[in-house]
Subunit: 353 residues, 2 copies
């Protein structure tokens, strides 16, 4: 095999571990790291009045965003965020070569309906709440390889549409159990480009599906934490780094319980996470007074924290190197009703100032 691999370490096995056993490289190292030249976030009122409120670009006065249905509001959030990201890169939609997007609705209709408004090739991706990291990783591959010059990627969720899709219609007024999380109403979009100024994405680690047998659809943190742990361990192994090599590590939407589980799993694997260095986007986005149980969740959670707070800090020099790992719970209402467990997946990217 005389092929010039652009991805790091060798593919030889290095022993075994619990669960999935191969130690194959899961990380792509970018030779021409794509730049983040534009970003935009749209959030709901609850997110706008939370601790990170000031880092978001646009907030919806009402949850319908002047549309007739929550689904139409979610679609408009995508359109607004994508247009905003392109504008913030001082570009026009016709300057963009590809759009990659995903959301939590059945058949990712928010993304694909939003794509109608753009005269751009569209690739639909589904990674549940890991979608922001997945779209950034895939978009970076397209730009790094030179297939596309500029790609806009996005992910988002809406509290009302997600509750209806995954749990119970809001009209039923069901009480949430203590381990539940609150789906973030928000959408984030990022423009990746070959050239320009802005933070760059230097590597991406693609996760494997993990299933530790969690069946409680109200405890997504526990379902997703093993996936975050597996992807982080693979990332540290593939890149020969440790948590200390990053200014900050963010998980997507594990919430308080999930964050605790992840800390335990990583400590057990020899990668203890410094409390000052690691936190979870779902934990950050709401105040304890906002009744969000374990914290924020949904594709939109990590999408708006990344495209708001984290990129702001990277641009302002507060961070030099950030590891962002977004996690998704791969369930559907049908799979849960049929008694299935909830598998999880996580994808990670490294962003450097």
């Amino acid at each position: 095999m005389d092929i010039d691999y652009t991805w790091g370490a060798s593919m030889t096995k290095r022993g075994t571990q619990e669960g999935k056993k191969s130690h194959k490289n899961q990380t792509v190292h970018f030779k021409n790291p794509p730049r983040i030249i534009g970003a935009y976030t749209v959030v709901g009122k609850k997110e706008a009045t939370g601790p990170l409120g000031k880092s978001f670009h646009h907030y919806m006065e009402d949850e319908y965003f002047s549309e007739k249905t929550h689904e139409a509001a979610e679609q408009k959030m995508f359109e607004t965020a994508i247009h905003g990201a392109i504008r913030s890169a001082k570009l026009k939609p016709e300057d963009i070569d590809m759009m990659m997007s995903g959301d939590l609705l059945n058949q990712i209709t928010s993304s694909s309906f939003a794509a109608r408004s753009f005269d751009i090739s569209f690739v639909g991706l589904y990674g549940a709440c890991s979608t922001m990291a997945l779209t950034l990783a895939m978009g970076s591959c397209m730009v790094d390889a030179g297939f596309m010059n500029r790609v806009v990627v996005s992910a988002g969720s809406h509290f009302a549409t997600a509750e209806r899709t995954y749990r119970t219609p809001l009209e039923l007024g069901c009480q949430k159990p203590p381990l539940a999380q609150w789906t973030v109403t928000g959408c984030g979009a990022t423009v990746l480009a070959h050239e320009g100024s802005g933070p760059k994405i230097t590597s991406a680690t693609f996760g494997k599906v993990q299933d530790w047998g969690v069946r409680d659809v109200n405890n997504m943190g526990a379902a997703m934490a093993p996936a975050a742990a597996a992807t982080l361990i693979a990332h540290f192994r593939d890149t020969n780094t440790k948590p200390e090599n990053y200014c900050a590590i963010f998980s997507g939407d594990l919430g308080k319980l999930g964050e605790t589980i992840l800390r335990d799993l990583l400590a057990d694997s020899g990668y203890p996470l410094d409390p000052q260095r690691y936190t979870d986007c779902g934990r950050m986005i709401y105040d304890y007074k906002q009744h969000a149980y374990q914290g924020g969740s949904g594709c939109g959670c990590s999408a708006v924290v990344l495209n708001g707070f984290i990129l702001d800090k990277l641009k302002a020099g507060g961070y030099k190197k950030v590891l962002f790992v977004a996690t998704g719970a791969l369930l559907s209402p049908v799979s849960s009703f049929q008694g299935n467990t909830v598998p999880g997946i996580a994808h990670a990217i490294v962003i450097e100032a």
Copy 2:
């Protein structure tokens, strides 16, 4: 901009056309065309007893595939097809670097649940019935760029799960209207690799979402044909080819009506399709005696025809250069109940012997 683009023609605008107006390049030309080194198909009884029956590799004796639910059967179809494709490439699952897959179920659970059984990085893609072309296109990008050495891609559908998801539960015994199609029970998987022998994928055209206002969820052919036309026109423009430059052109699952609409649209645009050269996978898969209305549909339709009949012909020398364009209707039950139209998308790949 001094970047070495690997994709073909210039990005300058060349006038306008009806609908989406930019004439930006949508096609990626592969410098190191990935080889198709393995393929496998699993189908149901109706498909196995149809005109293409002999080209499929495995057929399920019963629609439950010895599982308790149709959803579990669909998941098992994916596992069987992926294992089969890897085996047919004389490889083992640990030799594969990435798995890309999608299906029609809510939150693509068949794909992601199947991914639990494999110790391989997983990327979920959603393009409705265009998913086989989308996964092949994205998988080819990953292999061509050298990010991955071997990628397994798959797409599939099951009649019973699709009817439940998109229309009415089978138990209701609803009659289908004349313009309806029959969702194929089948799953196809392909192994793409840097090296090895087999047909190669030389280019991929990524489609844009098209919406011509179709609202009838039982007339998918009409909803998808404009997307197929747009992607084919973009492909011919980007590659400077005509239909005559291909031994055969296959659309995914337009059915009889959709095929007729596509012929009309392309003839109007100056690309008349020779009846001997172009046909539709959905039209081929069932016999007129099989009561399939306009023909087959679903992700599985183009997936099994490609991985069975088309690849067989390519390997046997019957075809030298094939243009495969799979089409998807981007609807969900919720979007239709809310009165939305059905947008379509199509992605195309070129396979050469």
